[in-house]
């Protein structure tokens, strides 16, 4: 297992390097001249030329790429903001936890509510509970999360004044700042989760081993939870990685609405003010985060499904298992 984790971590290196190169290449096509953006419209021609030299913008493309890559992956330096001159890496360390917190909260709501809904729908197939869950799921997928966010703000912040509409707080009191953002970000994933769970459960419930469990005298509740749900979780976990990516992306818009100073507001703000090093560094960092989460999801997958675990086991072990069988 450890060997597998190690292998996956090594696999991540070319992916992350690829992402960094891709993002760097894309950013060179951005409109505007960097020195102009840094120094502003009032800068003289001489000042601009000096800045160009300082940034090394006239060097060949490969040299600039190599310099950036070594900065990022050897010195762990993403450079400084063009406009505020603040170190990007330290800004990211400050902001990333908030984005992660929002994303994880969104994921927890989606799975925590979506899976039970799907289970209910499946065991009450074709009854009113099923129809209700599926209608909710359809609506959940259809409602855009930024619109839902606005509606929730309107209801719970403007009208009822129960929850804050923007910003972040500290400590336990800070949680309430994440409630509306997490709920509004979760509907699509929640609905997806419910639908996936339902169809997985319906497949599993008809499986022979469920009949076996019943024939053993297992109470119906345990048939569902112990025997059926664990098997249904397998397809759900496979989509969880993708879901995490969607939530991470969705969090960027949600952050803008609720003015949460996370990665989303950071990157989107930078796009609007043409502070490209931030876009570049932020994207690379988020891609790395995403890759780590995919790895975690893969490991979860192995935990639930012993067949996958066996594949992860080292070559030697696998052979032994085969011989025994």
């Amino acid at each position: 297992m450890l060997k597998y984790v190690g292998k996956r971590l090594i696999w991540m290196i070319p992916i992350v390097l690829g992402v960094a190169i891709l993002v760097f290449v894309m950013m060179t096509f951005c409109p505007g001249r960097p020195e102009q953006i840094i120094l502003g419209a009032t800068a003289t021609e001489a000042e601009l030329a000096a800045k160009r030299l300082e940034l090394g913008l006239d060097d060949p493309f490969l040299i600039r790429l190599g310099r950036y890559m070594s900065d990022v992956f050897i010195h762990f330096d993403l450079g400084k903001s063009w406009l505020t001159n603040v170190d990007i890496m330290s800004s990211i360390w400050e902001r990333l936890p908030r984005t992660l917190m929002l994303t994880v909260a969104t994921l927890l709501i989606s799975v925590g509510v979506g899976v039970p809904l799907g289970v209910i729908a499946a065991i009450k197939q074709n009854k009113w509970q099923d129809s209700l869950c599926m209608v909710l799921a359809l609506v959940g997928v259809a409602v855009p999360n930024f619109w839902l966010a606005l509606l929730l703000v309107l209801q719970f912040s403007v009208k009822l004044e129960w929850l804050p509409a923007l910003g972040i707080g500290t400590g336990l009191a800070g949680i309430k700042y994440y409630i509306l953002p997490a709920i509004s970000g979760s509907t699509g994933g929640l609905a997806n989760c419910a639908r996936q769970t339902r169809s997985a459960m319906l497949d599993v419930i008809r499986a022979d081993y469920i009949t076996t469990a019943r024939s053993k005298g297992v109470p119906e509740r345990d048939v569902i939870i112990k025997h059926a749900l664990k098997n249904s979780l397998i397809p759900i976990i496979t989509v969880m990685g993708t879901m995490f990516g969607q939530f991470l992306g969705g969090a960027m818009i949600i952050e803008t609405i609720f003015s949460i100073p996370g990665m989303g507001t950071y990157i989107i703000g930078a796009v609007n003010s043409r502070d490209y090093p931030i876009v570049q560094g932020g994207s690379i960092f988020l891609a790395i985060t995403f890759s780590f989460c995919m790895l975690i999801v893969d490991l979860l997958y192995a935990m639930v499904d012993p067949r996958i675990k066996a594949q992860y086991a080292s070559q030697k072990k696998r052979r032994k298992v085969k011989v025994n069988a």
Partner: protein
Amino acid sequence: MPKTIEKAKKQSEFVRIIKQMSKNKMAMLGLAILSAEIILAILSPYIIPYDYSHMDMVNTFAKPSFQHPFGCDDMGRDIFSRILYGARYSISIGIIAVGIGTFFGCTIGATAGYFGGQVDNVIMRFLDVIQAIPGMLLMIVISAVLGPGYFNTIIALSIGSISGMARLLRAQMLKERENEYIEAAQSINCSKFRIIVSHLLPNCISPMIVSATMGVAQTITVAAGLSFIGLGVQPPTPEWGAMLSAARQFIRQAPHLVYFPGLAIAVTVLALNLLGDGLRDALDPKLKN
């Protein structure tokens, strides 16, 4: 003689799918809503009660009324007219972007599936890199490069949907390749190209159609999201996301500005999803529960 048999078989398959679809009330509802929206969008310049950009300062923030069913915005523009006209932008972005994305995605996916080996390897590693960037972030980066605007948004969104489509087609082809009818075709000495075009692709097409339908729905939402954060279509263009973005600052004074554009997105996406579900059930009975 064999040709007529083939024709009859093909037609009956097509008829079967249509029949299956027409039995599915939800899918028909989706289709009806969608067709109505598209027709209204095409006809909108002739049927909207007010010009979508006509400002009328007397009616600033007017509440929904008989004259203005959805009310008016901060410039006194009729929201009903703007939403109908805006459907042209929102729906066309979704359809065109997915169309382009599907075309290139299928080409890339089929190339990877056809050549296999090193070509497949290179393509897949490149797609791995793209997929390591969360979708919305990729859109944001691409729009940062291209700048905002209708056509740039379409390009950004189509680039974004290529990798998913390519992966789907390739995976589907690899899965179908395992089937015994491919072995049967090989055993009667079918050429590789023929196997791909006349045996593999037709069997891979169903999930692509379903995925594309769902993709249009998703793309409409993402496009609106991009416009909402100011990176897609820009106000005063009446694209729904842009309208929401503009309405946001008036949420306290005039909440109705927020209701209707969002509702328009939700209804369109719902209709597309209903249609996609129906298509999936009709095209691939195996997937139906």
